[in-house]
Symmetry: C2
Subunit: 511 residues, 2 copies
């Protein structure tokens, strides 16, 4: 970013206009696009391929912790949805409502909605209430517990300011819904699933997070406690990457999930829910992409290695293509986290530069060029997407397959380290209101530069302070971090109220 004149594949650069840069990265990688249905996106194959990898890997983690998948109805009768007061209030403004069950032609020959339904149906924005209705039937005794179920589904939350992947009216997600015999078990489940999310985001998406609890004002509607993981992206804002809710007995009371206890009494179940969505794809882009486009953590890349045969002359063409096929065969025989390496040979009749740039913009971790000169030298030219675009390392062709997985691991690790360094560099401990306000205020209001970051500051626990700061700066408490044996919470003074504070909390502007 120090040489403003350097040509980059994405215009504008991150430091020129971050929101527009984001849109251009998504477009250049052909990941997704807005649809004509307001707020809904089309996820194109490259974006969906990333989601498939995320799904497969997360799903394996859910199953390893004893969960199974199921599927519940898309539609929620309005009366069910209204059973939990805070819940319906929290989602009312975002609900899409089905009111008719057919189309018909009216007197003017126009196609219009036909038969009104006796009860309107809400398109699920989340499924606590509809799943609760099933659980109420399934759970009769403590012997039926725990219920440990996850659902992969689409959900709809009407969005006035849509942004592809980050805020869309329809999005894809998973939602876990569990019922437990005791409060302690449900709280342990809530935490366990947050830990699964943290591990997934750290080890698979190469993004470090802060994890902790939400303040009351940021809780899921109807929850007793919401846990979350918060990532920092390259404009130094926070993105909530996953949440896990301890719902107490609120939803089991609303849905009638009751069981006979070991003591023979009738008790309400203790429930949890937890979710991650296609928003994670937006998080990956904002965390890792650069001014030349997407940069993918190898573990979720739809293609790990692209081979670019260089065939300038007809007489060497066959030999080059044969060598490329041989190399691809060696690579595809390798396993990478339980699945064979995905390798593409790009043989399209296009300029080599054009092809190379296409894969750069798609963020493929390793590009391998192979031409007639390489055949003679016995080398291949390897470019890592986490290194400058022009950088190449020449590796003996016979050795490349043996080093491929190690190279991918090194990219994965490097992306994580880079993201962690970035986050740590923009995380501050602040003790005065003045410094806090200064940190979150752009220096040039006419064209706000990237500024701010995460702040660890004391807080007296009051909602008034939160609201004041949100109104002044658009800054919110991202989480009250978990106790850390290495840095136990220290008491102090809330710089906004002058009152006592039991611990520092993490503040940031957020998506």
């Amino acid at each position: 970013m120090s040489t403003p004149a350097a040509k980059t594949a994405i215009t504008p650069r991150r430091d020129e206009d971050f929101p527009e840069w984001y849109q251009q990265v998504v477009r250049a990688a052909e990941m997704a696009e807005p649809s004509d249905v307001r707020g809904c996106m089309v996820i194109r194959p490259w974006g969906y391929g990333i989601w498939e990898n995320m799904q497969r890997q997360l799903d394996a983690m859910f199953k390893a912790t004893g969960h199974r998948n199921a599927y519940f109805p898309l539609f929620i009768p309005l009366s069910y949805f209204a059973r939990e007061a805070a819940h319906v209030e929290g989602f009312a403004k975002e609900c899409a409502v089905v009111t008719h069950s057919r189309l018909e032609v009216n007197a003017e020959g126009k196609m219009v909605p036909g038969s009104p339904l006796s009860e309107p149906l809400v398109v699920r924005p989340t499924s606590e209430t509809i799943i609760g209705a099933s659980y109420a039937k399934w759970v009769q005794s403590y012997r039926d517990l725990p219920v440990l179920i996850n659902q992969w589904a689409n959900v709809v939350r009407w969005e006035m300011r849509p942004r592809v992947f980050l805020r869309t009216t329809e999005f894809l997600w998973q939602e876990g819904h569990t019922v437990h015999e005791t409060e302690a078990e449900a709280r342990a489940e809530t935490r366990q699933m947050l830990d699964v999310y943290e591990e997934f985001v750290r080890d698979h998406l190469a993004i470090p997070v802060f994890s902790g609890e939400k303040s009351e004002s940021e809780r899921f509607p109807g929850a007793v406690q919401t846990l979350c993981i918060e990532a920092m992206v390259q404009d130094r804002k926070a993105i909530q990457a996953g949440t896990s809710h301890f719902l107490g007995q609120n939803f089991s009371r609303a849905s009638g999930i009751q069981f006979q206890s070991r003591a023979g009494t009738q008790e309400f179940g203790w429930t949890t829910s937890w979710g991650m969505s296609t928003r994670l794809i937006g998080t990956v882009i904002m965390a890792h992409a650069d001014d030349d486009g997407l940069v993918l953590p190898p573990r979720i890349a739809p293609i790990h290695i692209v081979i670019l045969p260089i065939t300038p002359k007809e007489e060497t063409r066959t030999r080059v293509l044969e060598a490329a096929a041989k190399l691809a065969g060696e690579l595809r025989a390798l396993m990478y986290f339980g699945a064979p390496l995905d390798v593409e040979i790009d043989q399209r009749e296009l300029g080599g530069g054009l092809k190379n740039w296409e894969w750069i913009k798609k963020g493929v971790p390793l590009r391998v060029e192979l031409g007639p000169r390489d055949l003679e030298s016995g080398n291949v030219a390897v470019s890592r997407r986490d290194q400058p675009v022009k950088a190449k390392e020449f590796v003996p062709a016979a050795e490349f397959a043996g080093r491929a997985v190690e190279l991918l691991d090194s990219i994965q690790q490097n992306l994580f380290e880079r993201a962690k360094q970035f986050r740590d560099a923009h995380t501050r401990t602040i003790d005065t209101k003045e410094e806090f306000y200064d940190f979150f205020t752009p220096k040039n209001p006419a064209k706000p530069e990237i500024h701010g970051g995460f702040v660890r500051a004391h807080w007296n626990g009051s909602r008034e302070v939160e609201e004041q700061i949100k109104s002044d700066l658009k800054v919110t408490i991202r989480c009250i971090p978990f106790d850390d044996p290495a840095t136990p919470p220290e008491a102090g003074i809330c710089p906004f109220s002058g009152e006592a504070s039991p611990r520092r909390v993490v503040w940031a502007k957020a998506y």
Copy 2:
């Protein structure tokens, strides 16, 4: 079925009341249940586990034929949906319509739909029109073709007479949507995907099918040609198990999918679509289940082998459980069609008989009992779900893992052979109207027994004949079979009209 007094796990038996037997098999296996949302089902973990296996295996076949997955919006603007006249007419009666974007509290304090949308949205019953809008943007030149995309999604078709898996308002499916440069390519794709379906249903679900073309009256609304595969289930009715549509240029004209041809002219693309749904789960149940419950083809079973430790005495308990764990470890190390064998040890504190019956009703292919006496004899007692429930084979414990995959293959093969024998036994070639009507008429109208089957009969090609027979017998043409080099179509006389017929077609009552 010859000893009416024999006790079975499912009441009623198939021959007593087939529709009720079906519901009871679904319930006893805990596969799915109706929800309180009219026509929508809840797919429970056992049913969803079967769907996950079907998905994974079909998805691999789609990818092997060059398709990639993507995701398009759930909602279709009414104006898009109405672009193809036959299409909207075909689906109008089944559409769920979203008309409002929020909930609000009315003057009486009741929660009601809030803001009306400027244009109603149809919840997709199928996605030709919404996907067509994207393809119109993506396709500019012949170089952009073919577009080969599949989507896994939920769809909604309002259903007045719902039946779990077979007819539900919401169901899960995949829908492939492709665009091609030429008519010949699109027709080849349509056939290729039908062949994929036939292979999947035959080799994975162990069900033989007739494949061919639909008559005009049974075509997909808007299609030029609909190909299908038709299975026979145990009440001798037909189930359409998958369809593949050649759409000609109808939908590309409606959506504006145009491209510059090699000759420089502007042409409309040739499109196809093809789909399979959770209805297949209902087909598997009706094809293979028996009077003791579900019978699963091993390739799609969520659990291949259940080990039932018998621990009557405390002193032998530990040794039995250790032996069970050792056996499970050996089995889980085995691969079965690209994934490790799924093995469960059922250690629940329940009566052995109760547990055994639970797994019988769930249709697990192999049950292995292991108790103190087996430890002494060095054997395990193996029961195959395709054999009578009480049948056991004693296999040396040390040899069982070595034979497990072979046993599963044998069950898979046996289920196919059984289904094929059943179908062939109930498929007739008929040449007179009288015999045709007799074949499809129950002998006891008060309590219609299972009757009929598939009939190969001549047809003059007229819609009037189809309508008469449908109205008289509820029998329809399931398909006009493809040309078979072994049995080339022979011309003859249509027994209903006395007119010439170019070939026999397949008739049946259908779900």
